[in-house]
């Protein structure tokens, strides 16, 4: 299939999927942290969270990817000698990709999570506090489980954008399916065929995600009543 390039493209698709799943894990962690910071009563934490969300969302993904990938590598190697470390540090492209995407989409998710936390009735956290739970316990036991339901629509959007944005990582040389398609296209001089195939694979990925997240949404909405319009 595809002049024998089918299997390499599928390998690339696997890498794309792994990249997306690993980055979303990092992004969820950073998003929760960012949302907690932005909602915290401590002023400098709130400002820090706000700055992270605003600055990252104000800059294109591609520029951030180039900045973190090339700039980050460069910066690490400029700073390391000052700390007395003289060897050239080469960052693994997959790990760098995961952290770059995670860092970018953490900012977007922090916005989603913040809105979801704010949608939880105030009485819930007050009740938790009344039971003598610490702030952290209230956060993880009371707020996070209820926040998930409110966050699913926004999360679905962000996950889809992230999945599609992984294609940009091919620009800095990570061998995802976009990268493999480009090599195949250059070798066979049939770019349309290969980009179309990759486009179809992305469409499968996004469609499956939509179905899966719709199921999750249904599960988390059990026992709630939708507004009747």
């Amino acid at each position: 299939m595809l002049d024998g390039y089918g299997s390499t493209i599928l390998e690339g698709a696997w890498l794309t999927l792994m990249l997306a799943l690993s980055s979303v894990t990092v992004a969820i962690f950073l998003g929760l942290l960012g949302a907690a910071f932005r909602l915290s009563p401590i002023r400098w934490l709130a400002i820090l969270g706000e700055t992270y969300a605003t600055v990252i969302r104000g800059i294109p993904d591609l520029v951030l990817i180039l900045l973190i990938f090339y700039g980050g590598q460069d910066l690490v190697n400029r700073v390391a000698p000052l700390l007395g470390y003289d060897e050239y540090i080469d960052i693994n492209p997959f790990i760098a990709g995961v952290f770059t995407m995670g860092f970018i989409f953490g900012a977007y998710l922090s916005e989603t999570f913040r809105g979801a936390f704010m949608a939880i009735p105030k009485g819930q956290s007050e009740a938790g506090a009344a039971y003598g739970m610490s702030g952290i316990k209230v956060f993880f036991r009371i707020l996070v489980p209820q926040m998930i339901r409110f966050a699913i629509p926004g999360f679905t959007n962000n996950w889809l954008v992230l999945t599609k944005a992984t294609a940009l990582i091919s620009v800095v040389g990570l061998q995802d399916m976009m990268f493999k398609a480009k090599s195949a296209a250059d070798a066979t001089r049939e770019p349309f065929t290969f980009y179309l195939a990759v486009g179809a694979l992305y469409l499968v990925l996004t469609s499956v995600s939509l179905l899966a997240l719709r199921y999750v949404d249904k599960r988390y909405s059990v026992g709630t009543k939708a507004a009747d319009l």
Binding site: G58, L67, L82, F192, Y202
Partner: protein
């Protein structure tokens, strides 16, 4: 000093030229996208499956695939066909600017169409009933009642889309155009200063984003004042 900002200062004209290219790409693709989005949005709210389904499929496929794939399909992909290369359209399709504008325009048209359809669907029932009671025809109903109000109410979401498009134009640098990102890539590779080069590009985008946010705040104050929360 571990940072070298002289190089950036010397290359400022390159960046400013990049800002112009970015703005040009943004304006052309938004105009083209919006022109396509209005009929598509109307098709998406139509009850006739014959009209609705093609528009649904179009927005679904465009929104389900990465922008980069769409851009490569148009810029690199179409050259695969002799029919395209021999046609009178080839001068256009071999131009990176044309292909970038076309790809961005198609992309934003799908997102804008969905925004417009959502906004049309949330038109209050009463307004439509009132228009019908006044004896308006369907065309008049759309022209006088539905579209003006739906386009206004779509403004907050559309502002997000415009900012997304500003960010999307950075992909033009991948197909050889010297927009802001392209300028940064040139500086980065000529002087080997990736950190400074891309930080500068980021700052330019950040400023443009803030300007756009401001502009849309003004637009909302002008056209959506009647929906603003009442001042206490």
């Amino acid at each position: 000093m571990i940072f070298d900002y002289n190089v950036i200062w010397e290359n400022l004209p390159l960046y400013l030229g990049g800002v112009l290219v970015t703005l040009k790409l943004l304006l052309i693709s938004l105009a083209f996208g919006l022109a396509l989005a209005i009929p598509l949005g109307l098709m998406r709210v139509s009850k006739s499956a014959l009209l609705n389904f093609p528009a649904w499929l179009y927005t679904y496929v465009i929104r389900g695939t990465p922008m980069l794939v769409q851009l490569f399909l148009i810029y690199y992909g179409l050259a695969q066909f002799d029919a395209v290369r021999e046609s009178f359209l080839w001068p256009y399709f071999s131009s990176a600017t044309f292909c970038a504008c076309l790809a961005f325009g198609i992309n934003t048209s799908a997102y804008s169409a969905e925004i417009l359809a959502g906004s049309l669907k949330s038109t209050p029932h009463g307004e439509i009933e009132a228009a019908k009671a006044m004896g308006m025809s369907r065309a008049k109903l759309y022209r006088r009642i539905l579209l003006p109000s739906a386009l206004r109410r779509a403004l907050p979401q559309y502002s997000n889309e415009v900012i997304m498009m500003l960010h999307t134009t950075s992909l033009a640098s991948i197909v050889t155009l010297i927009d802001i990102t392209g300028a940064a890539r040139t500086v980065s590779s000529q002087h080997y200063l990736p950190f400074e080069a891309f930080i500068t590009a980021g700052l330019f985008y950040l400023c443009l984003t803030f300007v756009l946010v401001r502009l849309f705040k003004h637009a909302e104050r002008r056209w959506l004042a009647y929906l603003a929360p009442r001042k206490a």
